[in-house]
């Protein structure tokens, strides 16, 4: 899992204002992920927010989210991701961008 460690190290450098218990992205149906062959979100997400879990589904943790929108684009054929912006002022806060 050296790759996981690396992306966490990267995200650690970023500034986030976390909106406790109000994730701005949600998986709509657990079952839809379990029947999804590719689970491409687990590869495409630049912050590794999506990971395969032991039930054959996908676990989403939005804390490191960079708000790029890639997961929403990737999952549009399944439409299983409810994607919103965080509330004003919350989420990633780029110092440099």
């Amino acid at each position: 899992m050296s790759i996981m460690v690396k992306v966490e190290e990267k995200l650690y450098q970023n500034r986030y204002i976390v909106d406790e218990s109000r994730p701005h992205i949600q998986i709509k149906s657990v079952e839809a992920c379990q029947t999804c062959e590719k689970q491409a979100c687990t590869v495409c997400c630049p912050a590794a927010c999506y990971s395969k879990n032991e039930t054959g589904g996908v676990t989403l943790v939005t804390d490191g989210c960079l708000e790029c929108g890639t997961c929403r684009v990737v999952c549009q054929d399944k439409g299983n991701i409810a994607w919103d912006y965080p509330r004003g002022g919350y989420g990633i806060s780029y110092k440099f961008g």
């Binding site: 990267k10 204002i17 495409c44 919103d84 002022g89 961008g97």
Partner: protein, 433 residues
């Protein structure tokens, strides 16, 4: 009583800033809403800033705009496994008192824009996410709803500058979700390093900058490019590929970036630098054919939200600033003529775009995205063959030059066949003419 403005601009990126500033400068009552903690907090750019479009909006921007370095040298590198073939263009003429291109740090520029907007009387409010457009029974956009308490605000016209995700237009049914082959995902890092080292490694003086645009093996056969830019005290390095390719592949974007940083020709340039931020952003790559509806009753869309990006020339922020300015000028002209902001009146915005470099350039390259997406050899086989050919040619080993030529030709033919090579040449010409 709901507060009412002449115009609301959503987003404080290059296009929204250009629109807001232009409107405020002409005395219009304009409100700019930004969801970030401060202007720039949600923005990501490589970044190269082109002076010409900014100059049109703020002629004396050089007085206090926090640019990094002006660019005197442009390198284009094709990377193999452990080598590169490249071209450089460097000129003393770029050391003029009004340079054409600068490296920038996006957040610094957007904070500066915020000050400029305040100076001309524009109102910029941050930490406010617009949740939806408000429309009257006829469908005309008459304002926005935000996530603030009592967050309804009205305006005669709304300019959507909310970036590549363009959620508002999508939610209102004014735009479709972008197809995975029409958007790239780019990741980048900013690496801080002693400016002396930057100057030594890139052969430049203080304030002078180098940009390296990169193609080849580092994108692992996917349609994509990478870059390395010199800032004052930092380097930015990034890589991006079409989302359709990431989706079909198995390499996460951050691993691709790590591999780029470890590449034998890149590593010595960034060695010893300290990473201070990791960013990701989507880039509209679909070109002319992916441009959505740009205006309607009471609304216009500008910048990345309008899919304005010239991928072939790596131009985005200048199209953003220009489209923001044109949308604002359309509003100013209609107001002066005492006309409203109906779809038929706002068609003047589209006319401005059509008559400008924005639509002309996008149209010129309209076939490029489809051809690149459908012909991965330009990102896999060719970088391989070209770098291998260079290695063969520049290795002196007592093989006669005619034999070397033959070996190189045969290698290309083996990879692509004669007809394949001819076909690729035709495709390339079609893509750019």
């Amino acid at each position: 009583m709901v507060e009412k403005f002449d115009a609301i601009v959503i987003g404080a990126g290059p296009s929204g800033n250009a629109a807001t500033y232009t409107l405020a400068k002409q005395g219009l009552k304009v409100l700019q809403l930004e969801r970030g903690e401060y202007p720039g907090a949600k923005n990501v750019q490589g970044g190269i800033m082109y002076a010409h479009e900014l100059e049109k909006i703020i002629p004396d921007f050089r007085d206090d705009c926090p640019i990094e370095r002006h660019i005197i040298e442009q390198r284009v590198w094709l990377l193999g496994d452990d080598n590169y073939v490249g071209t450089n263009y460097r000129s003393e003429a770029f050391n003029s008192d009004k340079p054409n291109r600068y490296t920038i740090i996006r957040a610094n520029i957007d904070k500066w824009w915020g000050e400029q907007i305040r100076k001309v009387g524009g109102l910029q409010i941050c930490e406010t996410t617009v949740t939806e457009l408000i429309r009257d029974p006829s469908g005309k956009v008459i304002g926005v709803r935000t996530d603030r308490e009592g967050g309804e605000i009205h305006a005669d016209v709304v300019i959507m500058a909310d970036g590549v995700n363009a959620l508002l237009a999508k939610r209102a049914g004014l735009q479709d979700e972008a197809a995975p082959e029409n958007v790239a995902l780019a990741v980048k890092e900013i690496l801080f390093i002693d400016p002396e080292l930057i100057q030594q490694r890139f052969g430049i003086k203080e304030d002078e900058g180098v940009v390296i645009e990169i193609m080849g093996k580092v994108t692992k056969g996917m349609v994509g490019t990478a870059f390395l830019y010199t800032n004052k005290e930092s380097l930015t390095i990034g890589i991006g590929c079409l989302i359709s390719d990431f989706k079909n592949g198995s390499c996460p974007p951050y691993r691709m970036l790590e591999d780029l940083k470890k590449h034998p020709v890149i590593k010595p340039l960034i060695e010893g630098a300290e990473m201070k931020e990791y960013a990701a952003h989507m880039i509209p790559e679909g070109g002319y054919k992916a441009v959505p509806q740009l205006y309607g009753d009471g609304w216009m869309v500008v910048g990345d939200a309008a899919h304005f990006n010239n991928a072939a020339h790596r131009e985005g922020s200048n199209l953003a600033m220009a489209s923001g300015r044109m949308a604002a000028e359309t509003v100013i002209e209609l107001k002066a003529a005492g006309k409203g902001y109906s779809a038929s009146n706002l068609a003047a915005y589209k006319k401005k775009l059509d008559d400008s470099f924005i639509m002309k350039d996008l149209k010129k390259y309209r076939e490029l995205p489809g051809i690149m997406h459908g012909n991965k050899q330009f990102f896999g086989a060719y970088p391989d063959e070209i770098t291998a050919a260079a290695h063969n040619w520049f290795t002196v080993d007592s093989v006669d030059k005619k034999t070397k030529e033959k070996q190189i030709m045969q290698s290309f033919i083996k990879r692509r066949s004669v007809m394949g090579l001819v076909g690729d040449a035709i495709k390339l010409v079609r893509a750019v003419r």
